[in-house]
């Protein structure tokens, strides 16, 4: 048992993070063409709406919720000191989880039943969808049967995750956790591990900078005006377009 715990909660996170970092950087630099959300809305748009929208928004809420609880656990504990607020937090996160769960199932059905979508489905898509379903299911199970996860996540799991990042993993707390919750964490590590090999990379390039960029964009391969200006050093290189 100890060996298993050591592997899943000490070795796996490091493997996952290293593969994630190297893999995504490698992919971004050398296989940029593969960096895409690979949207299939063009082939089928109606069923996609009912799956994609709840899935993505729900996932965003859950992702930032987890991130928040990990980075500033104190604030969550403080917030939860009032039972009504705790209930509100738990229920709203659970609704988000249901959205993700239902959305995923609809997406999965669409992927398997729609003729056209089947043509743009890879084995990796299926794998990742099942993995996500697994993670969300174990997460929901934990939320229902091991109550007030938002509180104990902040006080138990955040320290563990932080210890992982501090390179001195402290796993006694997670080792004592129920199996469903352990599976949830393991699923999450697997997801991180697999990210660079799947379409999931698109969440890394969510185009937030669009908000502050001007609408129009003109690029000179070779800006003669700039090059000829005496202030420009002669060694100036062209901007990279491709």
């Amino acid at each position: 048992m100890d060996a298993l715990n050591n592997f899943f909660f000490i070795a796996l996170p490091y493997i996952a993070f290293v593969v994630f970092l190297i893999g995504t950087i490698f992919k971004y630099r050398l296989q940029k063409f593969k960096f895409s959300s690979l949207s299939s809305q063009f082939l089928e748009g109606k069923k996609l709406f009912w799956g994609s929208v709840p899935f993505h928004w729900g996932l965003m809420i859950l992702f930032f919720g987890h991130l928040f609880a990990f980075l500033i656990p104190k604030s969550i504990i403080l917030w939860n000191s009032e039972p009504l607020r705790l209930l509100f937090l738990e229920i709203s996160s659970f609704i988000a989880a249901i959205c993700v769960f239902v959305g995923l199932i609809l997406l999965y059905i669409r992927r398997l039943t729609d003729e056209r979508i089947r043509m743009v489905t890879t084995k990796m898509d299926i794998f990742i969808e099942l993995l996500l379903l697994f993670i969300i299911f174990t997460g929901m199970y934990t939320a229902v049967f091991y109550r007030w996860g938002s509180t104990w996540f902040a006080s138990v799991i955040s320290p563990y995750l932080k210890s992982v990042f501090r390179l001195s993993p402290e796993i006694s707390a997670v080792s004592a956790m129920p199996i469903m919750f352990k599976l949830h964490i393991i699923g999450a590590y697997l997801l991180i591990l697999m990210t660079p090999f799947t379409r999931l990379v698109h969440f890394l390039v969510y185009p937030l900078n669009y908000l502050w960029k001007p609408y129009q964009q003109v690029i000179w391969n070779w800006n003669k005006r700039k090059v000829r200006s005496p202030k420009t050093p002669w060694s100036i290189h062209r901007p990279k377009n491709n």
Binding site: S36, L38, F42, M119, I219, N221, W222, R225, R228
Partner: protein, 516 residues
């Protein structure tokens, strides 16, 4: 003044024979690939008709282009807020059925089938799923179908034509149509660029070609919605959007784009135009009535010393300036004022201009005065002999433009944002040149009448001859004036030659840097 150069195009619609050679040339070079089968970067539509994708001009459906709201323009169906909020599901994205599902036939069946009692057939199969399909639509599905209820009558440009006017267009004897070849307009205020959240689309500074960087595109597919001309296409195979690249690799080696090179009717012209980039925003925001005029004003005179000086300051090469002075598009658009942009009300400021067609408009003379012509009615083929000469009696040739069989309003909806006067004057110019040439070659017209008609539209005989030359006789090099920067210096568009000095010639793709 911030002078930039732009490769612009003029299509002379009277000359288009609707042969689709252009579309095929483009398809063969660029879009004959998986995921791109349905794309026609160049397509030719029959007008009136619904076009490709179906009813693309109806922005209530597709939400393309810019719209003016409280004095400022914004994207109708995309933009910062809408784009990012709709990123998981874009409600205005056309789906493949709006274009057509690409298909092929099982030709091998015809050869490999064993002997049977029944005739072997080559069934159509979808090029997406590979399964047999019922073909509902295909490329140019509404080709030449003017007058049909499903296509011509659903043309969005009929929006403000009365029922009577529409009916008149569809009477069997009067029915007319023309062809509208379309490519990406390489706009000055491109909606596709504005809508791209990952900033993958850009306008090339050197020549204004609008391109999508395939390495940066992330399939957010906002450009497909935003381009009001539906000239940005989503490749469902690669998960990247693609569009017409104006054959820039050909341009850079001094060749005309494939569609233009192969054009059978020789309707296409391509050349440099200089424009003042500092005005783009103001012009795009101008009032509906002024849009065309202000876009035309933005295009600068390449002979003006002031323009030349500031162009040089911006690093525009002398050879490009020379190309701008010889540019056939500058002549059609600015000097002669004969070419208009397609749907200027979308406010993208297209740089592809059309000489509107005169022929479908003129051919109605026979409808005048039926009674007095009765004696010339050919009893067998039932046409009025005198009236078949389409220049007719000449007395009030311009009068006929108004009761043309194509209501001017229809053409105005296409090319001038509803301004019929603008269409009328353009058509009158076309007619005046014809009258002048008839006077020169046949000489059966009254000299005063010809002189009068030229004067009315502000042309002189020299100009009329020049128009005639460029329209009918122009050689390849007159129709396509491609600046030298695109030939011997083309390498500089993408590489700093200094960087490459001393590199090993052929064979190496890696910079020969010292190993560590």
């Amino acid at each position: 003044m911030d002078v930039r150069s732009q490769i612009s195009m003029v299509f002379h619609l009277d000359k288009c024979i609707g042969c689709h050679t252009c579309s095929i040339a483009c398809k063969n070079i660029w879009t004959d690939r998986k995921g791109a089968e349905y794309m026609w970067w160049n397509n030719v539509e029959t007008k009136p008709g619904t076009g490709y994708p179906t009813k693309w001009e109806d922005q209530e459906i597709y939400k393309g282009g810019w719209e003016k709201n409280m004095g400022k323009i914004r994207l109708k169906g995309a933009g910062k807020a809408k784009g990012l909020l709709n990123i998981f599901h874009n409600p205005h994205l056309p789906v493949i059925d709006d274009y057509y599902e690409p298909f092929t036939y099982k030709y091998l069946n015809l050869i490999e089938s064993p002997e049977e009692d029944t005739q072997v057939t080559a069934r159509p199969v979808s090029m997406i799923t590979g399964k047999p399909i019922d073909i509902k639509m295909g490329p140019n599905w509404d080709d030449d179908l003017s007058g049909t209820p499903d296509y011509a009558r659903n043309d969005p440009n009929f929006k403000n034509l009365s029922a009577g006017e529409q009916e008149a267009m569809f009477q069997l004897e009067r029915m007319a149509m023309f062809y509208l070849p379309r490519i990406c307009n390489h706009c000055l205020n491109p909606a596709c660029v504005g809508s791209c959240p990952s900033r993958a689309i850009y306008k090339r500074g050197e020549d204004g070609v609008v391109l999508i960087n395939q390495n940066v595109c992330r399939a957010w597919r906002m450009c497909v919605t935003a381009c009001p001309y539906k000239k940005s296409y989503y490749n469902w195979g690669t998960g990247k959007s693609e569009k017409c690249i104006l054959c820039y690799p050909r341009l850079e080696s001094g060749q005309a784009p494939a569609c233009m090179h192969s054009c059978v009717g020789r309707i296409r012209y391509l050349g440099v135009m200089l424009y003042d980039a500092s005005q783009i925003e103001a012009v795009a925001n101008s009032d509906d009535e002024d849009l065309i005029k202000r876009q035309m004003d933005m295009i600068l005179d390449p002979f003006d010393p002031k323009v030349i000086a500031s162009a040089k300051k911006n690093g525009i090469a002398d050879s490009t300036l020379k190309a701008a002075q010889d540019s056939p598009t500058y002549k059609f658009v600015k000097e002669w004022g004969m070419a208009l942009p397609l749907h200027p009300e979308f406010r993208t400021m297209p740089m592809l201009f059309y000489v509107p067609p005169l022929l479908p408009v003129m051919a109605t003379l026979s409808n005048n005065d039926v009674e007095s012509q009765k004696d010339t009615l050919n009893p067998i083929s039932k046409f009025w002999e005198r009236a078949t000469k389409y220049d007719a009696s000449m007395d009030n040739i311009f009068g006929t433009v108004d009761d043309a069989r194509f209501p001017l309003k229809y053409l105005a909806n296409l090319f001038s944002n509803g301004d019929e006067e603008l269409i009328k004057i353009t058509l009158k110019k076309l007619m005046a040149v014809r009258l002048h040439r008839r006077d020169v070659t046949v000489g059966d017209l009254s000299k005063e009448m010809v002189a009068e008609s030229l004067k009315e539209v502000g042309l002189d005989t020299e100009m009329a001859d020049a128009i005639y030359y460029l329209t009918s006789l122009a050689k390849f090099d007159d129709r396509f004036v491609i600046p030298a920067a695109h030939r011997e210096q083309a390498i500089e568009m993408t590489e700093f030659t200094g960087d490459r000095k001393g590199d090993a010639g052929f064979g190496f793709t890696e910079h020969p840097a010292r190993g560590l």
